[in-house]
Each structure stands twice: as C-alpha cells, then as structure tokens.
C-alpha cells in the first residue's frame, strides 16, 4: 500500500520515446535498457517552487531587455498552465528561450550565418497567476537550418520549461506557430505518434490577446500531468 498519491501515466502515444532515430542525436543519447518502474514516494510528489519574488516583472517582455528594440515581428504569447483535470497550476515558474527573428540564437555553439541582434537575448520568465495564466511579449523567432539530415530546417519555435507542483510534473517542451510549412518535416515536432498530441504544440492565433497597432497574439495552453485516482488511505 502506498500512502502517496502519484501522477497519471500519459495516454498512449502522446509522449515521445527516448529513442527516435529520425532525430539523429537521440541514437547515442537514449537508454537501451528498459526503464525501471517504481512507485511514487514523497521524493517524487514534492518538488521545488519558485515564487514571483524571484522573477522581475519585466522578465516577461523580451522586447525591453536592451537599449533599443529588437528587429522582427512583435508578438504576444500567452495561455494557461493547467493540469489534466483542468485545475490551474498557480504560481508556477515558466521559463522560455528562443532564436531571434533571423533564426539565430545568442549562444556560442550556434554558428548559423544569420545576424545576431544586439537588442535581443531571447530569454524570458514569468510566474503564473492564481488562474494559471502567463503572458510574454517577444519577437516571432525565425526558422533556421540544422545538421540533422540533408537540408534540415527547424520550424519557428519557442522553448518552454515548467515545474508544476512536483518533481513528477516537470516539463520541457516547444511551442510552434500555425501554418508553418516546415512542421511536417521536423523530426523533433514529429517525435510523438499521436497526431492530435503533436498538434497541441502548435499555438493558436488569438484575436483576444492581439494588440491593435502593436502585436499579434498567439495562445499556447500547457497541460501538466494530473494526479492519479484518489490515493488509497494510509493504514
């Protein structure tokens, strides 16, 4: 009997396997032995939390981190972080990073021959409110080539990192843009068998958050794992 309530297993096909050969780097970096099943304990149902005191209110505006304005198309990216039972993940940290509008990351490993933008770092963070809402202002990231296969290009995307309430709910994902012609060819986007699950990584154009004369709005809701059925009572 386990007195600790665990977290629900994913619906089949909605999460990637570690090994996905079309994504070449996964071949030498995924375990070859089966994962060992363990019960949930206090260690996995607890986890770190980071309140809004850690995050400056301006950290969610990636267009105001330098003297000048970054080049590119200003956008608002917002949404809710909820669990599989639609309960809001309040007060949880959301970290994002992305390429600039030319498709270049401010990182020494990125040697893509596209210009850096002195006015864009590509790093943002926010803490969700009591309803699980977050909001970023940023620049639409550019597509860029990579070396996975011949003529490989990544669709435009923004990286997201979230904690949720427990070690078990930690999630790193990527948000994509509607209508991107590169999506059908991207081995990372296509790593998940379930088509509906992968399409939920595509943000939705959103009039409600679109600001007149300022910025187009994209909505991206993030679902964290829900609690397992009611835990058995402790003896």
């Amino acid at each position: 009997m386990n007195p600790v309530g665990g977290y629900r297993a994913p619906y089949p096909g909605t999460q990637p396997s570690h090994l996905h050969p079309p994504y070449v780097s996964s071949v030498k970096r995924s375990p070859t032995r089966p994962l060992v099943q363990i019960p949930y304990t206090l260690s996995e149902v607890t986890g770190p939390s980071f309140g809004s005191e850690l995050v400056s209110p301006t950290a969610c505006d990636l267009t105001r981190q330098h003297k000048g304005e970054p080049l590119g198309e200003r956008i608002v990216v917002s949404g809710r972080v909820i669990d599989e039972d639609s309960r809001p993940a309040a007060n949880t940290l959301v970290e994002i990073w992305q390429a600039n509008s030319a498709g270049r990351y401010r990182h020494e490993v990125d040697q893509h021959d596209a210009p850096l933008d002195p006015n864009f770092t590509g790093c943002g963070r926010a803490v969700t409110d009591s309803e699980g809402r977050y909001r970023f202002v940023t620049i639409r990231p550019g597509e860029y080539p990579w070396r996975n296969h011949h003529n490989a290009w990544r669709p435009a995307h923004i990286h997201f990192s979230l904690f949720g309430p427990a070690f078990a709910t930690r999630l790193v994902t990527q948000m994509f843009f509607p209508g991107d012609p590169l999506l059908p060819f991207d081995p990372i986007f296509n790593c998940t068998a379930d088509e509906k699950a992968r399409n939920r990584l595509i943000s939705v154009f959103d009039w409600e958050s679109t600001q007149p004369m300022q910025a187009l709005g994209y909505r991206f809701d993030i679902i964290l794992r829900g609690r397992d059925a009611t835990p058995m009572e402790t003896e």
């Binding site: 297993a9 970096r29 607890t46 790193v172 939920r200």
Partner: protein
C-alpha cells in the same frame, strides 16, 4: 474525460540562454545543517564520450529528511535557507559538480524509510523527454532501501556514488554495460 498532458520536447543545444539564470551548484550555504558533500561526475553518451550540452537537476530533503514542500506533512522541521533544489550544466567534457548536504531518510512505500538519496532529472540535446534517476550515498541503509531493491542487484551500483579522496563520484551513463538505471515515472 480528462485532458492530456502536453508532449515533451528536447531542450536542444541552446538551453543555457533561458535556464542559466537559475543555475545553482551550491544547494547548501554555510550554516545549513548536515554533512556537506561535494558530488562530481560526468554524463557519458553511447560512445562513452562526455556530453557537453546536458543539464542535471537535483531535488532533495534536508538533513532531517524533510522536503520543503506542502505535500510533506511529516512532523519535522523545514530549514530556512535550504530549499533542496540544484541545476547544473555539464562542461565541455561532460563533467558536472555540485555541493550539498546529505539528506536524512524520508518515508517510502509501506512507511519504510528510504535510504538517503537525491532525485535527479537529466536533460540534454538529443533527449526528447527528460530521464529521471536517483543518486544514493555510500551508506549501510542502502541494503534495505525499497526502491533500490526493485533494481536488479548487478545494476544497483550505478545509482550509488563512490567515495573519492576529494568528493563523491557519480557518473550518468546513457548506454553500455554500465548504463545508469533510469526510472519509469510514467513520463
């Protein structure tokens, strides 16, 4: 009908841009109760080459075996100034290092204590979802640990740090005969 959790994607090679601000390789400032330990190791790929673009996250209880989290309802003291979270990147050789205190035992299934351990997430370019594992300490209590006992005996040593003169050493090996045991938490 419940919703379905968002699909995981890789951190890719450029995660430092967004995640560096929270890098924390010293989990326990001076004055935090408990035995201070330095832990170092490497993340090694299928060719046993160091992974230069990996990140290790740590979560642990304090020296009394209490997590700084509301789900831990034990009658034990939370220690102000100790959260129990660390985030460390690997260097160009795949090496990582962090400083912490050895946690106390926390309850496990059926109320049996678990041996002191850290829970670990591993992220890197090439990993579409994180790997989760545990690091145990050289400690006689490991023999009775309910989680270690779910692992075939010959592989348990991959979860236990080794005493070196200057540190505890614990490698994360992705493939091969010494492949680290990774856990299925239903991710």
């Amino acid at each position: 009908m419940s919703l379905q959790a968002t699909t995981s994607q890789t951190v890719g090679p450029y995660f430092r841009i967004g995640l560096e601000w929270l890098y924390q390789d010293n989990l326990a400032d001076e004055g935090v109760e408990g035995e201070r330990v330095v832990i170092r190791g490497r993340v090694l790929d299928g060719d046993l080459v160091g992974v230069p673009d990996a990140m290790v996250e740590i979560w642990q209880a304090n020296s009394r075996g209490k997590y700084a989290h509301p789900a831990d309802t034990q009658q034990k003291l939370v220690e102000p100034g100790f959260q129990g979270y660390g985030r460390v990147p690997t260097d160009n050789n795949g090496a990582f290092r962090f400083i912490t205190i050895k946690p106390g035992p926390v309850p496990g299934p059926e109320g049996k204590d678990q041996a002191p351990h850290l829970v670990i997430s591993v992220f890197m370019r090439g990993l579409l979802k994180r790997l989760t594992t545990r690091m145990y300490f050289p400690d006689a209590r490991n023999a009775a640990d309910p989680i270690l006992n779910l692992v075939e005996p010959i592989r348990r040593s991959t979860l236990i740090a080794k005493c070196m003169p200057d540190a505890l050493k614990w490698d994360i090996v992705l493939q091969g005969p010494d492949e680290t045991v990774f856990f299925d938490l239903g991710l």
